[in-house]
Structure formats: structure tokens, C-alpha cells
């Protein structure tokens, strides 16, 4: 129970279905700023639990989060990659530490407010996109295994967001119109650049165009993501229709940020990628036809083919080139609504 509207309505649905429900407020991050935003989340969670007449317990996995998610997050940034800590948080914290905690307290299942669905087909539990495709969160849950997924319920997976909010309002939840949380949970609405600066020394260098011109300085490669347009600190450029500069590549070895002009710049599009830490939700590799893949949370599913698999490493070829493939992000595989699994992107090529 995060204090948000999704987990609140999830709890209410479970109660309506006749489950015996207890809520947990999970704290994974110790605030270093003076104003404690998580306290408002706790207040909201408490109001929901009071109206549902269920107990709200508290758990703290800040140490586990720090050791297993945040350290990885920093390490990836140090290596010039763009990590996705939410994927790891689900694998390591919510569906490991918290799941074990709940089981120890006698729970049969845990439930969350994720927009995904599950389905038991031929003895395998499948993960499906949320019915509300605009809110689908399967991208963040591709790392779950059969044991984890069979212990989980996702009560709002077959609801659409606007109905969830309506239901929350009807139930008298104070958080019915609370803003959706965006971005990385522990950074919140802060500037990610300011945040990273506290943990990783910045290493400024030059911004180089794809044809080798030096056109400015960057503040440190970790601050930029491939495909990024805003915040480069360089002007729009010449007379092109789309003259804006985009990050094309990070040259870690020479500490150079390579940029190119125009959203349609072919250097931003790649047909191939290699990824590691491959995981299949079912435990087995799916059939290699009709596959699609997403290279970041908000990207479209693009038809693709597996070119090669070697243990936990995978090579993919896309039917059409993908924009802004960023190492550190996950590539997640789908067959229609079925989320099959994924891996962490290491490189791209044409």
C-alpha cells in the first residue's frame, strides 16, 4: 500500500472478493532532504486502510534496497549506462524481500497495484499486459519467475485507470486524484542531475558531432541518455527542418558525447541489439516467431527475431530500426499481450 490510488483500489477489490487482507507500507529509501514526502504517502495509505478497516503494517527494506538496487543503479551510471532501478526493485525487493516477509507472516499471496494480469495456461502462469494498455506495467515485471508470479495477485490489471480513480472517489479515498508518481521513486520530482551529483563525481568532456566537430562541453556522460534532446546546452542549429541536436552515442573511452541533428537522423536508429541477463518468465525460451520487443518503458512493441542465444546473452534483429536504444535499459519481449521475459541491453548496431 504505497499511498497511491492503484494499490488502494487493489486492496478494496480483494476485500470485495472475500479475501482476508492486511496492508503493508514499505519504506525502501531514507530521505536525505529535510521535507519527508513519504510521510504524506503514509498518511494517504492510513486513510485508505481506515476506510477499508484493514490494518496497515510497516516494513523497511532500505538497507536491502541500498545494497541491491541503488548500488547497481550507481554502478550503471558510472559506466555511462541508463539503468532501470524499478525492474530490479520488483525482482529484489517487492517480489523477494517483501514476498518472503508476507509469507513469514502467514500470507498465502501478496498483491500489488500493478497494471498487469496473470493467467494460468497449461500449468504455467503467464504475465499479461494490463487491460489498460496506456498504463501497462509488464515492462517492469519481466524479471519475475514462476514462484514469484504464482504468489502474486494484480487486482487492477483488468481495470482501466480512469475507472480505478472513479472507484477510489466513490470509496472516499483521499488519494483518488493524487498525481501518478513518475520517474525513479527515490529521486521523485528532484532533478536527476542534482541527485546523481551527490553520489558520482562528474567528469565533464567535449560534445562532438557525428562528423567529428567539437561543438561544446558536456557535464559528464552519466547525465545523458541516448536519444535525449533537451538539456544539451547547445543551440538548435542551422536551417534544417528538424535541426535539434540528439544524443547519438556515449564514447566512454574518450569521454565524448556524440550528437547528431534531427529526430530522423539515421544514427539514432538501430536494427540490432545485444543484451545480457536474459530471463524468461515461463522458464523456457518461447517460439521464435511473432515476437515483439520494447526497448524502453514508453516505446512501442516492434516485431523482432532472436538471432542468437548463448546462455544468458541474446542478440535481436528488429524488423524496423528502433529509436534511441540505451544500454542499461531492458529489452522486454511480447507475444501480443503476453509478456515473455527480457534482458538488459548492452549494445546496438546496424
Amino acid at each position: 500500500m504505497s499511498g497511491g490510488v492503484d494499490s488502494a483500489v487493489a486492496a478494496s477489490i480483494l476485500i470485495d472478493e472475500g479475501h482476508d487482507v492486511e496492508a503493508f507500507f514499505m519504506k525502501n529509501w531514507e530521505e536525505e532532504s529535510e521535507y519527508c514526502t513519504s510521510e504524506q504517502d503514509y498518511i494517504d495509505a492510513l486513510q485508505v486502510c481506515d476506510s477499508l478497516k484493514i490494518p496497515l503494517h510497516s516494513v523497511n527494506f532500505a538497507k536491502e534496497y541500498w545494497d541491491r538496487v541503488f548500488q547497481y543503479f550507481l554502478e550503471e551510471y558510472k559506466n555511462g549506462r541508463t539503468p532501470n532501478p524499478d525492474v530490479l526493485c520488483n525482482n529484489e525487493i517487492k517480489f523477494k524481500e517483501f514476498l518472503n516477509h508476507a509469507l513469514e507472516l502467514g500470507a498465502d499471496k501478496i498483491a500489488t497495484g500493478h497494471y498487469v494480469r496473470t493467467d494460468n495456461r497449461d500449468g504455467t502462469i503467464k504475465l499479461l499486459k494490463g487491460l489498460d494498455h496506456s498504463k501497462d506495467q509488464s515492462y517492469f515485471l519481466y524479471g519475475l519467475d514462476q514462484k514469484q508470479i504464482s504468489s502474486a495477485l494484480f487486482p487492477i490489471g483488468d481495470h482501466i485507470k480512469s475507472d480505478v480513480r472513479k472507484k477510489a472517489e466513490k470509496l472516499g479515498f483521499d488519494n483518488f486524484d493524487k498525481k501518478d508518481s513518475v520517474g525513479i521513486c527515490f529521486i521523485g520530482e528532484r532533478n536527476i542531475k542534482d541527485f546523481l551529483k551527490q553520489y558520482i563525481p562528474a567528469n565533464p568532456g567535449y560534445i562532438i558531432t557525428s562528423d567529428g566537430q567539437n561543438i561544446g562541453q558536456h557535464d559528464g556522460l552519466m547525465y545523458y541518455t541516448i536519444g535525449q534532446r533537451k538539456g544539451l546546452g547547445i543551440g538548435g542549429g542551422h536551417s534544417d527542418v528538424d535541426g535539434a541536436w540528439y544524443v547519438i552515442e556515449k564514447n566512454i573511452e574518450h569521454n565524448q558525447l556524440i550528437v547528431g541533428q534531427g529526430h530522423n537522423n539515421p544514427a539514432l536508429y538501430h536494427k540490432f541489439l545485444k543484451a545480457s541477463k536474459l530471463h524468461w518468465i515461463s522458464g523456457n525460451m518461447p517460439e521464435n516467431n511473432g515476437l515483439k520487443a520494447k526497448i524502453r518503458y514508453r516505446a512501442n512493441d516492434v516485431p523482432c527475431q532472436i538471432k542468437d542465444i548463448d546462455q544468458n546473452n541474446i542478440s535481436i534483429e528488429f524488423e524496423t530500426p528502433c529509436f534511441g536504444i540505451a544500454p542499461g535499459q531492458s529489452v522486454v519481449f511480447y507475444d501480443g499481450d503476453l509478456c515473455l521475459g527480457g534482458a538488459i541491453i548492452d549494445s546496438y548496431s546496424n
Binding site: 507500507f25 519504506k27 531514507e30 519527508c36 513519504s38 510521510e39 504517502d41 503514509y42 490494518p55 496497515l56 503494517h57 510497516s58 516494513v59 523497511n60 532500505a62 538497507k63 516477509h101 513469514e104 507472516l105
Partner: protein, 370 residues
């Protein structure tokens, strides 16, 4: 509810509740007004001041009402920021209402040193003595610790402080009704109290100030509390605190005996239920009725949730705003590693308990502990 968390807060005494109800209903004059109903309010406040003064052997003019123990502590430290002598000696087992204030005031020019503590949970006077330097103007040492209950050598600290013209503050919020508080023998310069720790209302406290002229105001405004703490007084809360203090100090011996009996019943019962239990901190120099126990092999958050389901209230670490549970810095300071720290529960007994309740607690613990 089976309530074993009296160090967090206590229920109101029925007579305190009645008195406050009456004042809330019938007394509304502003104590600063000079007509009759203003004077009525003022008299209620001054009567409470006398009750509190008597309960700690102070003079009424040394008692200043605050919003609680936290404000009382803040008042002392903020009062020193313009002092030319700007160094404070405190220690690592103080409540955040001391340590966090000192940390906050550091960039404003108030320096401090926190001395460590041994595994007994008692700060050594020798360490305090060593931390004193030429600019030291204040020693802040709690009378008893809030998590493990250990009594601190406040009187001995006063002795070394007096030789060097250093002031002494003690946070005594855990102590009223559990040990005698006598400022005439303690000879501290400042002492903080909080009403809700001794069956009084929340949101009201007291700062005892030996020489009020040495204190500057913290909250500025209409001049209440002799200009040292402005703001229209919370009459019913102040009256409630006065009565609660008087009641707590009365027949203290009997209360202590009752607390010790609960403690012994619990300890001997626990030794049968869970032999590996470790009692933290010096067990002979501590507040009666407050017991801090580690349960090796068990996690305190699991124990607490299971006890909560059985309507039993206990605590781990200091309670804080957002339902947080993390390793207690105090337990770390007395040498508990993280895993032992997170297997620790504080039980604090009080006037609302009965031997039957403690039996119930032991029965539940027996079924929970592994």
C-alpha cells in the same frame, strides 16, 4: 488493547481528562486579559506551574510551559547560538530531539561533540570531561535513555561542569513517575519534561530554567511566559500537565514497586518462554518498567506485526512520523550489530497494566518466537 509502550506515550489519567474537559467547556478567557475570566485562566496556569515546580523541587518562576519536550530541548540549544562560548558536549544516545537539533545548528555556528557510550548504555563522566574544551558552554545529558532506560550520570556531570562554569541541560522526559526528579540535588540548569509521558496530555511540556535570565526567547510574540515563550497558552493542556505531574510525584514509591513487579514477572516469564533473550543495557541502573530485549533469530518487524494482530502494542526503535522501522542508532551505539538490532523490542509497562496482561503477552510471545 494490551498496551506495553508507555515510554512512547501514556493514556490520560481519568481525573486529568475530567479537569481538561471542564476547562475546555467552561474556561475561555485569555490568560493575558485582566478582567475576571482572564484572571481565572491565568490562575489555572499559575496553579499548574506550582504543581509542576513542587513535583521536581523547583520554584514556580523556574517553570516555563512549552509545546512539549522537543520544544524545551530546542529552546535551550537555540538560546546558545549567539553565545561567544559556542561548544556543546552531548552524546550518541540522546533522543533526536537533542542530536538532530545540534546537527541542524552546526552550520549556524553552534559546535558540538557527541561522546560515545559503552555496552552498558551509560555515558562515562570521564568521556564528558575529556570532550570539554575552552569554548564549551553546555553539557546536555539525558536523565534516562528512552530506548534502554539506562540512568545517566547527570549529577556527576554537574559537578565537573560547575568547576568550569559550564551549564548543564538534561532531557528528563522519560523519568517523571519512574524515578525521583529533584532539581535541588541534581543542580542542573535546564531540564525538559513532556506531559504525555506521565499520563498527561500531548502537546504540552515544560522547560525548567534555574536562572531564567540566562535564557533567550525561542518563540517571539505577545510576551507570554515572561517574554521567553510567546503565544496564547493552551490552558487545559497546561492544567492537565500540572495535575498529572502532581499525581505522578505522589506516592512515587508505590508506583515504582508496581513497575518493578511487572518487570520481574515479565523477565522471569520470558526466561522460560525464550531462553536466548538478551536484556540490553545495564539492568541495575535503569528506569523501572522499561525493558529492551533482543530475540536472536527473530525479526522485530515480524514480531511486532504478529503482536499487533493480537492487539498488543510494543515498539522497536524510536517511533517516528512515517511508520518507519530501521536499526536503532542507540542500540548500534551500545554495540548491537544490525541483525541483533533488528531483532530487538522495547517493552515499557505502566499504570494501565495488570499481571494478567503480562501473562497474555508472554503467551503470545511464546507462540511467535522461534
Amino acid at each position: 488493547m494490551y498496551y506495553f509502550d508507555h515510554s512512547a506515550t501514556t493514556p490520560l489519567l481519568p481525573e486529568v481528562s475530567e479537569l481538561m474537559d471542564h476547562i475546555n467547556k467552561d474556561v475561555y478567557g485569555n490568560p493575558s486579559s485582566i478582567y475576571s475570566i482572564g484572571r481565572e485562566s491565568r490562575s489555572i496556569i499559575e496553579n499548574a506551574r506550582k504543581q509542576i515546580a513542587r513535583s521536581i523541587s523547583a520554584r514556580p518562576e523556574q517553570i516555563f510551559f512549552t509545546s512539549g519536550g522537543t520544544e524545551a530541548n530546542n529552546h535551550v540549544f537555540w538560546s546558545l547560538i549567539n553565545n561567544s562560548q559556542n561548544h556543546i558536549v552531548s552524546n550518541v544516545i540522546e533522543h533526536p530531539a537533542v542530536t538532530k537539533v545540534l546537527e541542524f545548528l552546526n552550520p549556524l555556528g553552534l559546535e558540538h561533540e557527541l561522546v560515545g557510550v559503552n555496552e552498558d548504555g551509560i555515558v562515562s563522566v570521564d568521556d564528558i570531561n575529556k570532550a570539554i574544551k575552552p569554548g564549551t558552554s553546555l553539557i546536555s545529558l539525558m536523565l534516562a535513555n528512552n530506548e534502554i532506560g539506562t540512568l545517566q550520570p547527570v549529577q556527576e556531570s554537574v559537578e565537573i561542569a560547575k568547576e568550569r562554569d559550564i551549564l548543564v541541560h538534561t532531557d528528563a522526559v522519560q523519568c517523571m513517575g519512574k524515578i525521583e526528579i529533584d532539581v535541588s540535588t541534581l543542580r542542573v540548569d535546564f531540564l525538559s519534561l513532556s506531559a504525555h509521558k506521565f499520563y498527561g496530555p500531548k502537546g504540552v511540556g515544560v522547560l525548567y530554567v534555574r536562572e531564567p535570565k540566562k535564557l533567550s526567547p525561542l518563540i517571539i510574540g505577545g510576551g507570554q511566559e515572561k517574554n521567553l515563550r510567546a503565544g496564547t497558552e493552551n490552558i487545559s493542556a497546561i492544567a492537565g500537565m500540572g495535575l498529572a505531574a502532581e499525581t505522578s510525584a505522589n506516592s512515587l514509591d508505590k508506583k515504582v514497586v508496581a513497575l518493578i513487579e511487572f518487570e520481574e514477572q515479565f523477565k522471569s516469564g520470558l526466561n522460560k518462554v525464550f531462553k536466548k533473550a538478551i536484556f540490553n543495557g545495564n539492568q541495575s541502573k535503569k528506569l523501572p518498567g522499561l525493558i529492551n530485549v533482543s530475540f536472536p533469530g527473530n525479526r522485530s518487524d515480524i514480531i511486532m506485526t504478529k503482536l499487533d494482530r493480537a492487539s498488543i502494542a510494543v515498539s522497536n526503535g524510536s517511533a517516528c512520523g512515517s511508520g518507519d522501522i530501521k536499526p536503532s542508532p542507540i542500540l548500534s551505539a551500545i554495540g548491537l550489530d544490525d541483525s541483533m538490532n533488528l531483532s530487538t523490542i522495547r517493552f515499557s509497562f505502566g499504570a494501565s497494566n495488570t499481571p494478567q496482561q503480562i501473562d497474555y503477552l508472554l503467551t503470545e510471545l511464546k507462540s511467535i518466537l522461534i
